[in-house]
Symmetry: C2
Subunit: 351 residues, 2 copies
């Protein structure tokens, strides 16, 4: 199954989006037959020529574009030939299995819910963002797909992110924490307390309530929260990372002449690279009947290439199949597929 790449979405579209497609091909994250470019055909062909590349990918014409600030549901209705709507319809018709977009996140979520359809047992999809921590990757779900949640929605998030961490990161029985303002059982809102009971009665590897610092502590592999809180956590982390990067840059400027700039730059890269969520391959919208990967609006070619890799690995690992089985109380996941234990993904041609 191919991956539909929304060439028109994002602050740096179409230049960096297309460059990302060729970057993914170059590093073997995808094969040429894995990708379907969705967007304005003329602009795509012109930009490919400008970049000095060969037109190796299939193109699906979609002349309209949904702006970053447009109202999601309205835009879906009005712009039926937009890249997001066209890609979502291809997915509904099972003509593609994956979709990568750096466009309007709300529109991507709405398209997934209204046009593609959700997995059996899922009422609300959730955006899962993976943070680097001292103890390995930690996935926070939901980072803003929905702000009206019931306890069983939060439970579903935990089940879905758990299967995602097994499928893509090879983590068996991921440790799931519930984001709260204290670890004691009695802490938190009714939503959190009722969700804790659901997790406690489940077969999932639930470690109990966790606090904000645990996003980076390495104590758990999955942290569940409702979308308002998750979105704030994501953006606070981005804002603090950006602030630290600026502090660091000014310090490097002040001191580099004393110590040789090369080492400073190496250190800055080592530290700030850990905070650069673009490196981590986009955020899956879990619960949708497909491998939908949402990218930051400011994504560059590297971020797009990584998101394409994530979408392909998501399909190869049958994450959605495992989610449906998990939600149905089905069998426990078998050993993870070999491709998920490292970053190397088999390239080559996939039908």
């Amino acid at each position: 199954m191919k991956i539909a790449l929304d060439v028109m979405g994002g602050d740096k579209a179409p230049v960096e989006i297309l460059a990302g497609a060729y970057e993914a091909l170059r590093v073997g994250a995808i094969g040429a037959d894995d990708l379907l470019l969705v967007g304005d055909r003329e602009r795509i062909e012109a930009e490919i020529a400008t970049q000095g590349q060969k037109p190796v990918f299939e193109v699906q014409h979609a002349p309209e574009n949904i702006g970053m600030d447009e109202h999601p549901a309205q835009a879906l209705r009005r712009k039926r030939n937009s890249s997001i709507v066209v890609a979502a319809k291809l997915m509904r018709e099972a003509k593609v299995g994956g979709m990568v977009s750096a466009g309007n996140t709300g529109a991507a979520v709405a398209a997934a819910t209204l046009l593609i359809g959700l997995l059996k047992g899922v009422r609300r999809p959730g955006i899962a963002v993976t943070f680097h921590t001292a103890g390995g990757p930690c996935t926070l779900i939901d980072c803003g797909a929905n702000i009206h949640c019931q306890p069983d929605d939060l439970y579903t998030y935990g089940e879905m992110a758990s299967k995602y961490m097994t499928g893509l990161h090879g983590i068996q029985r991921p440790r799931i924490g519930l984001l709260n303002i204290g670890e004691e059982d009695a802490k938190g809102s009714p939503l959190v307390q009722d969700t804790r009971k659901l997790f406690g009665e489940s077969a999932l590897n639930f470690i109990g309530n966790v606090e904000g610092q645990d996003v980076f502590s390495g104590r758990c592999d999955v942290i569940v929260c409702e979308g308002f809180v998750g979105n704030v956590v994501l953006k606070v982390s981005e804002g603090l990372g950006q602030y630290i990067a600026e502090l660091f840059a000014s310090q490097v400027k002040d001191h580099a002449h004393q110590n040789g700039g090369a080492i400073w730059k190496e250190v800055a890269r080592a530290i700030l690279g850990r905070l650069d969520y673009a490196e981590y391959g986009g955020a899956p919208l879990l619960g949708v009947n497909g491998a939908v990967i949402i990218c930051h609006g400011r994504s560059d070619r590297r971020a797009i290439a990584n998101a394409l890799r994530t979408s392909k690995r998501f399909m190869d690992a049958d994450v959605n199949q495992h989610i449906v089985e998990g939600l149905a109380g089905g069998p426990v996941l078998p050993e993870p597929p070999a491709a998920t234990t490292g970053d190397a993904v088999p390239g080559g041609v996939h039908p």
Copy 2:
């Protein structure tokens, strides 16, 4: 009016708490007559002798201690001779005007609400934490005093933090942002949307919805949110700061021999000092009829000294009087007092 210092509360009590009192005296943040030490008299006197200090501060005996994990309301009832309860009662009787505690936060909030009493017009107190940003201090309220809020509680938070920023940081007409998951008016939960309307109709300097990254962007002086979200933001920031500090330490270790350790340490201090909330003088519990400053449980002497400074400046600037006037639709704050324009606080003896 004196400040009651809870000598028994905190991970490093009583050693660092008492050391903080003497540090505050040494740097002129307070005078000897400004302080009342509340705790076990024998332990206090022994520790002062151990530290080689003179017993210059008045002591109020309070032999019991509320542990960091005790249930707040139960502990208040059971431990009537605990340092927090004794300090709160002294404040209710107007025998002290300020209170600093690094003990059980929930107990301090409960004591403030149940024993001290709230300001006229305030239904719920809020914890206000000030973050350093590229554009100056930014105060986030509420960081976890309450998780059950109505729109008018959030509005009150904005009014209170605004007066606090004027009184302590000399910021006229502080810019107030409402924490949301998008800037558009239609975004967010009903709580946030209804609160936005209240701010929009007020005379406060409301700049509209802001997002998580704005805690560090310098766009606003005050950010308002409900306590669950604020607590998570505070702890995520602490966790990320800690993680970056560890990354930095390992890089410094790897590279210091190549570049001379002194400069590295200087840079680390310059960057990480900005993330060290201990430097910022504790978090006022706004809305209480007194200058109650809550400190992190792991506070050291420097944090305690800064919190004592904050408590004194809070009283000197008549912040609570301005809050009450603001909530009553009273007069706009006059020019800020001279003491609030910098970090230098007049020391000396205050009755």
